[in-house]
Symmetry: C2
Subunit: 599 residues, 2 copies
């Protein structure tokens, strides 16, 4: 059974050779004294935690799942999860990128990104418990009152308490404007205090035995709320009320009433939650809850992309071990291991294609994810408003791509890596089919991938007449011009430049069509997002290839492998865009022409 | 929860309007007195059995799974499976296409194809029990001695007994040449009797409580066997030895030692089988077992394609019901159901794209599958040697396409239909995630899809210099020429003709490359198969569109829907070939260049 090897070398390559993160971070007041050794050392330790503590619990957590005691409404997580969480808190990991004002270590998000990738590789279901806390932390940090911050942020930072986001109701997920949970003012209570009543579903980490308190961020309607999405407010509703001294007080009536039976992520408790007059306090302005929640949602979307990045890496590692070990058939070009009864299956071209697909998506994704984390570090910390705006715009553009492109790729890659195992891939004990099942949810939650594509094409690209897209386009353009005379780079630069031109034309064409008929956006968005994802990946793969070419005489096989993987990406993955551009251009009529009754 | 509606109208369309099966079948001596009403009536009853008996057991069967009593080696199937099987036998269904010489009804395989599609839609795991029997029946029918036929075929035909195929061992699946199970002659026993010893894994329906006996067809080595695949013989090994009077005798030591824990098809018992000196008799010639087994294997490959066809149809039906019922968000072009709080999600273009993908793959697949069944009916029954050869060649060409293209499409389609349900698709009770899990095995067993692609490109296409491909090409060419002046058909004919030209050039190019380096076949085969699959689907979709155009003034909405689905196929699915042809042409070097150690 394969174990997990943290991809530290590749993370260091991206951080220090591709992105020069320490130089970039030092320009930011908050990270002026950062150094590469610190980043590397933290990630080395973080990798150990992922590999040694979390990875061994992944398969057993899937098999055992969570159990609800219906009498007490308490949930028991799989064996070992609680102890792993205690080690996580003990190690100070929850505080990694937290605000020092609340006990955080103040490290850049670049570090947190890499740490979470490794935890997701090792155990997505477990990692969702602290992952949800991050969202709650960020939302309260951005929109909470001073009292709310003082009450909750130190405990979320230390990991003593965890958080959730309670959005979905049985009749509405995508369309939160329809939600019905009510929040009513409490006579005599302090201003901003409400009693919440309603039902939520699909609440990840909604109840568990890892922490002393669970801080729920809940969307609900005030009595005077307008209908629709402009009548939604955000509340913080703790599992246990918090006493004035900060200690855990009486049980608040927000209960887990059932656990969902899911395809995967069995180790995470996906809860139906009943709010039965639970006490909560308002976060941010009345009726402005959706906007406040989107702070959390954007971070969560990047987090979901990171989950699939982690699964892609893990699937790759497991499949490589198997493909080198398993012997079956001879190479079509003659025996490669004549001393054995058959050749290891890694000699077969299509086995390599499946492996390299996962590898190229993992390494390309890692580069983009760390790049985006660095942009967020800039957005959060720079004093330069132009730089902040530039970073924020790029993050806004890249967020739906990271969410949808990574998770679609994760589904492809985990399925390919399962296939490398043949029939054994379908058997639970090998752990491959779990990666596929876990990966499937990532295409759905925090906004389905269709919603991401509408966000990208409709809002982020066409919504500002392509201004954000042009910002990314300028990076591509600059790189293409810089390398235009570099003979060795032509194999990468030419297809990159070509795709850049095509996406520019495609965007203009879709904008014109959408002006005539808004449904055209819905007809093309999913294809468009995938083309945009490839543009971004092609850019990073070309940049990585440039470094690998420069270092190819170094004798370090890392660069040889990087160059081969870049060539694979351009030869075997990027050409998908040829079909996608055609389908994006073929319009919405073939989708809408058929009367609903004929389906 | 959606129920299953047998697609009888579409089956009738394919049989009677597209393929004229009754006229074709009447030309065959064995089916001279067939008539359309009989075919339709049988399928109507078969559809009832699938919808009313099998479909209600699908989800419960998945949840319960099979259990092994380790003391007795007996397997209990999920609640209701045994009773359903009794009804199946009672109804005479196992005999449908069986040879009348052994109690069969002698109906054409066209009927059996449609019946199995419906059973697969309703319950793939259950349908594998009788499905495996078919393979054993066909293998013994083709290669068994008179005594073996007399002993086994009547009971397999009646369904009193079921069958299996025991090929895989822990160390070999694809590469059966390495198998180790031994068969030793028994001193004093009748000639052709052996004792078999060894271990088999992944034996579907290997043990169960549905039937009084289980007839295993087992690959093993004789003592004097040459090494490799030329030293494999085939044996029939019953669970219970059969007495001279045909009654069930003593227990033969071929035992289920464990059940596999699988991603899906939980209702089917996937067994590890121990042969501990089990008595078997030789089927066919010594050391020629693989050839004999391939009779079974080819039928099984078509059967696996049919499983995914069934799942695709079922996923489509369930997702359509949900998409019409679930309201969420407004159409981008304005409210379509202003009286409701939101529009049904079927108004959203991408939801329609996901639904239509499943529909186009199901209906295209149904046309090809019934066409292929008719070819097999001809191959088995015609007196005309030229017609037999033509049919056999086309079946050989189409078999890997049906196996791999249908099952890849089934994976895509079931996943898309799950996505239509949003988060609910991930929850077990809705039944969608089961369809995805069940569909995943179909890409693996009976030869992985990579093996199918090597069979297609290496053996079926390049192996005879494109002769079989040209036979299909002539059908396309004739249709293109016949419709070349039909203005209404240009939207279908032009892309079909274009793809035909491209695949001809691609084939020639790959043949030249493979001549230089056999690994080029392995580098291009998977992409090539998908392109070939689209050529075949485009041909059938164009033919179906022609009929729909002719009938478009009939007032029957069936033809309107068919035409819209054809247009969708050409606009949104076929263009995938643009990318696939590029990757197929980009060669094997990007796959093989990287040293194994660098993975």
């Amino acid at each position: 059974m394969a174990t997990y090897t943290p991809p530290l070398r590749d993370m260091q390559f991206v951080m220090h050779e591709l992105l020069n993160v320490t130089d970039e971070l030092k320009m930011l007041p908050r990270h002026a004294d950062i150094d590469a050794d610190t980043l590397n050392a933290v990630l080395e330790e973080g990798g150990k935690f992922a590999a040694e503590v979390l990875a061994p619990l992944n398969l057993s957590g899937d098999m055992e799942g969570c159990t609800l005691d219906k009498a007490t409404h308490e949930v028991r997580t799989p064996l070992g999860f609680k102890d792993a969480y205690a080690q996580y808190v003990q190690g100070g990991w929850p505080a990694l990128s937290g605000d020092p004002a609340y006990g955080g270590q103040g490290l850049p998000l670049v570090v947190n990104q890499c740490f979470y990738e490794m935890m997701n590789s090792a155990n997505q279901a477990w990692t969702m418990y602290p992952g949800l806390s991050h969202g709650a932390y960020e939302c309260l940090h951005a929109h909470g009152t001073e009292a709310q911050k003082a009450t909750y942020l130190p405990k979320l930072t230390s990991g003593e308490w965890t958080g959730t986001m309670c959005l979905t109701e049985p009749h509405c997920g995508t369309d939160l404007g329809m939600l019905r949970t009510k929040a009513e003012p409490v006579a005599g209570a302090p201003e901003g205090t409400y009693k919440l009543t309603g039902q939520k579903i699909f609440i990840s980490a909604g109840e568990h035995d890892l922490a002393a308190n669970i801080i729920h961020l809940v969307l609900a309607r005030l009595p005077d709320a307008p209908v629709g999405s402009k009548g939604i407010s955000l509340f913080v509703v703790p599992k246990f009320l918090v006493n004035a001294d900060g200690s855990v007080g009486e049980r608040n009536p927000i209960f887990c009433s059932a656990l969902e039976h899911k395809m995967g992520i069995h180790g995470n408790a996906t809860c139906q939650m009943m709010l039965d007059g639970a006490t909560g306090t308002l976060v941010g302005q009345p009726h402005k809850g959706l906007a406040a929640m989107f702070v959390m949602m954007n971070a969560a979307r990047l987090g979901v992309g990171n989950q699939s990045l982690g699964l892609t890496e893990m699937a790759y590692q497991k499949a490589v071990v198997y493909a080198k070990d398993r012997i079956q058939m001879r190479s079509l070009s003659g025996p490669k291991s004549p001393e054995k009864a058959a050749d290891p299956i890694i000699v077969h071209p299509d086995v390599r294609k499946m492996l390299l697909t996962a590898r190229a998506y993992a390494e390309g994704g890692r580069a983009l994810a760390i790049y985006t984390a660095l942009l967020i570090d800039k957005e959060l910390s720079t004093d330069d408003e132009d730089e902040r705006k530039e970073a924020a715009d790029l993050v806004a553009l890249l967020t739906p791509i990271i969410k949808a492109f990574f998770t679609d790729n994760g589904w492809l890659a985990t399925s390919h890596c399962l296939q490398v195992f043949g029939g054994h891939g379908y058997i639970r004990e090998w752990g491959m089919e779990q990666l596929v099942r876990d990966a499937r949810i990532n295409m759905i939650y925090e906004g389905t991938n269709t919603i991401q594509s509408l966000d990208l094409l409709g809002r982020k690209v066409l919504g500002d007449n392509g201004a954000k897209l042009k910002k990314f386009g300028r990076l591509v353009q600059t790189f293409v011009e810089d390398e235009g005379t570099n003979e060795d780079m032509q194999e990468f630069i030419n297809p990159l430049a070509d795709l850049g031109d095509k996406i520019t034309k495609l965007t203009t064409e879709l904008g014109m069509k959408a002006f005539q008929n808004p449904d055209e956006v819905g007809g093309a968005a999913v294809d468009y997002l995938r083309v945009a994802g490839h543009l971004v990946f092609a850019y990073f793969w070309a940049r990585m290839a440039k470094i690998a070419l420069e270092k190819k005489d170094s004798g370090d096989p890392f660069y040889t492998a990087k160059l081969h993987t870049a060539r694979f990406y351009f030869a075997k993955l990027l050409p998908e865009t040829a079909g996608l551009i055609r389908t994006a251009r073929s319009g919405v009529a073939p989708l809408l022409a058929m009367d609903e009754a004929l389906f």
